[in-house]
Amino acid sequence: MTLSRGTKVVLSIFAVIAFAFIYVPLGVILINSFSTDRSLTWPPSGFTTEWWGKAVENQGVRDALVTSLGVAAIATLVALVLGTLLAFALGRYRFFGRESLSLLVILPIALPGIVTGIALNNVFTSFLGGLTIYTLIIGHATFCIVVVYNNAIARIRRMGGSVEEASADLGANGWRTFVYVTFPLMRSALIAGAILAFGLSFDEIIVTTFTAGPGVTTLPIWIYQNLFRPNQAPIVNVVAAALVVFSVLPIYIAQRFSNADERGGGVI
């Protein structure tokens, strides 16, 4: 279908406006990170690099960053294992309840975070005795599974079973087939899923506030606590600006590894 030139121009202008809409708030964040005001008033009354210096020295930020990275890493690992298992089960077999199960799997992401958070909080405080960093990891892994599952099952469907059958025809048993045939084909989908899961876990705040134990401070929690403190608010902007800048690399990598079309192309 060929679009008329007029349509193309209109769409291009619209795209520019849309991208401007997307990036102006990020620009505001960047500017605020240099503002002398401590309470985010606009326009900023002056500019300073003081906050960037303070952010680098701030022990709280560094600890929170480490915690966030650790939690996200473990949650992603758990999700990789469970998500892949689930994807194989649902992608390769037919059984009663398969459809309901595939509906169930996306629930952790489809249901509002506050519901998941309160439900898990209730169970953890009544049944497990309290919240710890492990309850937080459980909370995160639960929605990370969905992300990995989505990527894995899309790849599994696309792969078809013939390659594995060919491998079996050549004499490989189940395990060999998996290691030498299936896994290499799935690897890029799993990596893409892992990166997305990592990103989701890294920025998650709602389920986190309800499942993190005492003293467990992830980066979003640190931000939530410090947006409230006049001395700290600008440092939060610095952290956010830095996050955007440093995340370009993982995004690029995720893009290279994933084939958005096959997965359905959504964010997860």
Partner: protein
């Protein structure tokens, strides 16, 4: 075959749910039976319980060697250890002096504090008056032996043995500091000096659409304070002891106020920003917010309204059956010692509890700005307290509205 499978799945799921649900109450049962007794006693006649104070006996002392750690629940800003600002740290010196490692969790509201304490595992909590009574009657804290806290002697007398931190002459904690809820206004928008809450409550307020209020059920008491002055025939003497008629009047006033409100606040950056930008012209605030707003170049003023105000005075309490009792008492003494109390009061922005702190504050005027020793200032400040069915003002001919209904009513008001 398929129905069997369906049944199996259903059975597993319901079994899991039932198991979890049953266990869900498990850890609360022992506490709830004790608490039920405590609350039954409280709602009948606390006076007759004089012999058996809730929470058992206070620690007899003497305070010995620390157990190595102390788990503290506190408002953000009360227990600083250098992670917020390297220059602000009174926790590390404590750890070095006593060997008690501090494990801190902060909470955002008194309700959270109560819930966390009920969950157990904490040794010390800094509780505001709207949490203290619930903790006392819920059997979550023990009476405090003030003889074991040497700095207690220097605390301002009008903070000791108040309705919210003592029961029948038994003290349940060490006062931390105090502040009043002030009326603050943006001087660019409000050209006249303010001395009353009228413009924040009256329907014909010239600042309709630019008023702010504190976002918590305890704010109902602020409406009650205003009614004490404007509708004296309601007979309110204690804004935390409201019978149904008085309560309904307060809620009606708040409904009226809601039409005037631009935003409710519970965190200070929001309040500061709102005042400085003019989104909010007038409303409830704290001294610390006024100071920070001015430091940001805002044009605001704040004062205690002539009708009186609510305020807060926090209390350091000790959990019942805590294993770290020595460290707990060491912390209590540390936090209200003159030097530390001065640091906390300046960092947080409140009046210190210890009279001797006034000479030690970095800002020599700190105590006078915050009215630390000014007893007259605090006579019409009604510190946050926990409304109970048993009227706090001593009335026995009627029941008062308990806090849980304050919370419900507030939630409905805000919705």
């Amino acid at each position: 075959m398929q129905t069997q499978r369906l049944l199996k799945i259903a059975a597993v799921t319901s079994a899991a749910a039932l198991m979890l649900a049953a266990c869900g109450g498990g850890s609360e049962d022992p506490a709830s039976s004790a608490a039920a007794e405590g609350s039954a006693a409280a709602s009948e006649a606390p006076a007759s319980e004089a012999a058996a104070a809730p929470g058992g006996e206070a620690f007899a002392g003497p305070v010995g060697e620390g157990e190595g750690q102390v788990n503290i629940l506190a408002w953000p800003g009360y227990v600083e250890d250098g992670s917020t600002d390297p220059a602000v740290d009174w926790t590390t010196p404590f750890e070095e002096a006593t060997g008690c490692q501090v494990n801190l969790k902060t909470f955002g509201t008194s309700d959270e504090a109560v819930k966390l304490m009920q969950g157990g595992g904490w040794d010390v909590v800094s509780a505001s008056g709207d949490a203290t009574l619930r903790l006392i009657y819920g059997d979550n804290v023990q009476p405090v032996n003030t003889d074991l806290v040497p700095s207690y002697a220097d605390i301002f007398d009008d903070l000791k043995m108040q309705k919210f931190n003592s029961v029948n002459g038994v003290p349940y904690g060490i006062p931390h500091g105090r502040g009043a809820n002030l009326v603050m206004w943006n001087t660019d928008k409000v050209k006249e000096p303010i001395d009353s809450w009228a413009y924040t409550f009256e329907a014909d307020s010239p600042y309709a659409g630019a008023v702010t209020a504190y976002d918590s059920p305890i704010f109902i008491a602020d409406a009650a304070v205003y009614l004490m002055a404007t509708q004296p025939d309601l007979g309110i003497t204690d804004p935390y002891a409201l019978d149904q008629t008085q309560f309904d009047a307060a809620m009606a006033l708040l409904e009226q106020q809601k039409a005037l409100v631009s935003e409710y606040w519970s965190d200070y950056t929001k309040a500061i920003q709102a005042f400085n930008s003019g989104t909010t012209a007038i409303g409830t605030s704290w001294q610390v917010i006024a100071n920070l707003a001015l430091a940001e170049g805002g044009k605001v003023e704040a004062t205690k309204a002539k009708e009186g105000a609510t305020g807060w005075s926090d209390t350091w309490m000790v959990a019942k059956d805590t294993p770290n009792i020595n460290c707990a008492y060491k912390w209590l003494d540390w936090i209200v010692s003159p030097d530390t109390n001065a640091q906390v009061a300046e960092w947080f922005g409140e009046a210190p509890a210890n009279a001797k702190s006034c000479e030690l504050t970095a800002d020599a005027d700190h105590c006078s700005t915050y009215h630390a020793g000014d007893t007259a200032y605090w006579t019409d400040v009604y510190y946050w307290n926990t409304p109970t069915a048993q009227c706090l003002d001593g009335r026995t001919d009627t029941q008062c509205v308990p806090y849980s209904e304050w919370a419900t009513a507030w939630s409905a008001l805000r919705s």
